[in-house]
């Protein structure tokens, strides 16, 4: 048998690596869609992952969501006060939180907490041959580890987003109530006056996209980790950085689409 003596690059080393990476990520995603809808379904593990992703993120999400609402209201007041328009605060804050802040803050927090966790966990399993051990035990590691985690992030990020929106509005209400003595009912009536069904649906759709991105990126980076503990660190880091980058790209794209629909 003839063994090729020299490895040749098609364009250049870096471009080849980039294009190969894109191709492999595409293959990874198509594998996810093929396996996600094929029996047997991993219900138990998916629910366990939903608990890991969702329930365990509540304390951090509560804190960041509340502070986001509180600070945003506090910082917006002086500008509105200049025009004597502080009564617009509830609706301004509600639009900002529901259209942009809640999905984005939730996604970025989850990318940091959940994405890095998935990348590190799968990366560690990869370099210690635990994934290989599953394969040789006739267990499909992709289905058990990847499909369950991606489904969990895709389901739970929208739930967390709704919760973030709620606590952020509560943070805002406390600030408004302290300064303007507005009642709870009056605050929320004003806040939701300007919110449409499209605003809520677009945020949910955005969160689904962000959740899928966080899960698939974390799993892809973890599943392809190499070179020992250093590789695990790189996988965790790359999961966060790439997820955040893609989340911002999706935000730009989805805002554009929503605005076009809104007309």
């Amino acid at each position: 048998m003839k063994i090729e003596e020299k490895q040749r690059y098609i364009i250049s080393r870096n471009i080849d690596i980039f294009l190969t990476g894109l191709y492999e990520a595409g293959v990874f995603m198509s594998r996810f869609f093929r396996q996600a809808f094929r029996r047997p379904f991993e219900f138990k593990e998916t629910i366990r992952q939903c608990y890991e992703v969702g329930y365990k993120s509540f304390p951090l999400i509560t804190l960041t969501g509340f502070i986001t609402g509180l600070v945003f209201t506090k910082q917006s007041r002086p500008s509105l006060a200049e025009f004597g328009a502080t009564s617009w605060l509830p609706s301004l804050v509600a639009i900002a939180i529901i259209r942009a802040l809640a999905p984005l803050v939730t996604a970025l927090i989850a990318a940091g907490k959940v994405g890095s966790n998935i990348g590190a966990e799968l990366g560690s399993m990869k370099v210690t041959e635990q994934i290989d051990a599953m394969e040789v035990s006739a267990i499909n590691p992709f289905k058990y580890l990847v499909v369950t985690r991606v489904l969990a992030t895709t389901f739970m990020i929208p739930v967390l987003m709704c919760y973030t929106g709620f606590v952020a509005m509560m943070g805002s209400y406390i600030n408004v109530h302290t300064n303007e003595a507005t009642s709870f009912i009056s605050f929320f009536q004003q806040a939701f006056e300007k919110i449409s069904f499209l605003d809520i649906i677009s945020s949910v759709v955005k969160s689904i996209a962000y959740g899928f991105t966080i899960g698939i990126v974390g799993c892809y980076k973890g599943f392809n980790a190499s070179q020992g503990t250093e590789g695990v660190g790189r996988a965790a880091n790359a999961s966060v950085v790439l997820s955040m980058f893609l989340i911002f790209l999706e935000e730009v794209l989805l805002v554009q689409i929503t605005n076009n629909i809104r007309g």
């Binding site: 490895q7 041959e129 040789v136 035990s137 006739a138």
Partner: protein, 254 residues
């Protein structure tokens, strides 16, 4: 694809196997036959392609060319379902044990069983777990986490995890690497008792001569991606081949 093995009592046949990683040619035309109930040690220096060989046998890696036939299955042609069925007949003991570190010892053992054998009752599962733990002499560790075990205990649990599926073939990747001499002897004895108790045929990847001598019926010496000598331990190490002698002397001095 199913193709009968050439030799009647063979369980694995590897023919003209080539594997490269980039410019590094790891295997260069490897031929190997493992017979029923035989323990075969594959010896060689680190990086000589020993582990790559057994990873190709279970298709964790794919060869560049050549054929691997396991129990009549052409490994490279199997579809996913057939591959899973074939893997159930092979136990693979990893060099670093590869225990699932988020599960207890008991859960590590139950995991492959409950996922591969349907309709098992809890009592049957518990009995199977207790049985393999007893076989490796570690019944007391059932509720411990892998991080609480010593290197030798991890190896034993790794072997127990493969035995729970009652494999016909065992592949041991460096079973005594990183262990002290006494623990190594215990692992060697375990490998022998596994063959007697579970009627397995085994390939033992090692660079430890005492492990090869104690556990195997035949030894295959891998050098730069090719087998340079196959035979009993004494046959292999009685030759004047400088490459084999230097490996022997290095082990002896070490």
């Amino acid at each position: 694809m199913i193709r009968p093995l050439k030799e009647k009592d063979a369980v694995i046949e590897v023919s003209d196997l080539y594997k490269s990683f980039g410019e590094k040619h790891v295997l260069r035309g490897v031929d190997l036959t493992l017979h029923k109930m035989e323990n075969l040690a594959v010896l060689g220096r680190s990086g000589s392609g020993k582990s790559v060989l057994i990873k190709i046998i279970v298709r964790l890696l794919t060869q560049d060319s050549g054929g691997v036939n396991v129990l009549g299955n052409e490994v490279e042609t199997l579809n996913e379902k057939e591959l899973m069925a074939m893997r159930l007949k092979i136990g693979f003991s990893f060099q670093n044990s590869a225990l699932y570190d988020s599960m207890t010892v008991g859960e590590n053992l139950k995991f492959p069983l409950v996922r591969n054998v349907r309709n098992l009752k809890k009592k049957q599962i518990d009995e199977e777990v207790a049985s393999v733990l007893e076989a490796v002499g570690l019944s007391e560790t059932i509720d411990q986490m892998p991080s609480e075990l010593s290197g030798g205990q991890k190896k034993r649990i790794g072997i127990a995890r493969t035995l729970i599926l009652r494999p016909e073939i065992m592949l041991y990747d460096e079973p005594t690497a990183g262990l002290d001499p006494i623990t190594s002897i215990e692992i060697n004895n375990l490998i022998k008792s596994v063959r007697e108790q579970y009627k397995t045929s085994s390939i033992i990847i090692t660079h430890d001569l005492s492990c090869a001598k104690t556990t195997s019926d035949r030894v295959a010496m891998l050098f730069e991606g090719q087998f340079i000598k196959v035979g009993t331990f004494d046959e292999v190490f009685s030759t004047n081949d400088e490459r084999i002698q230097s490996f022997y002397n290095y082990n002896f001095i070490k």
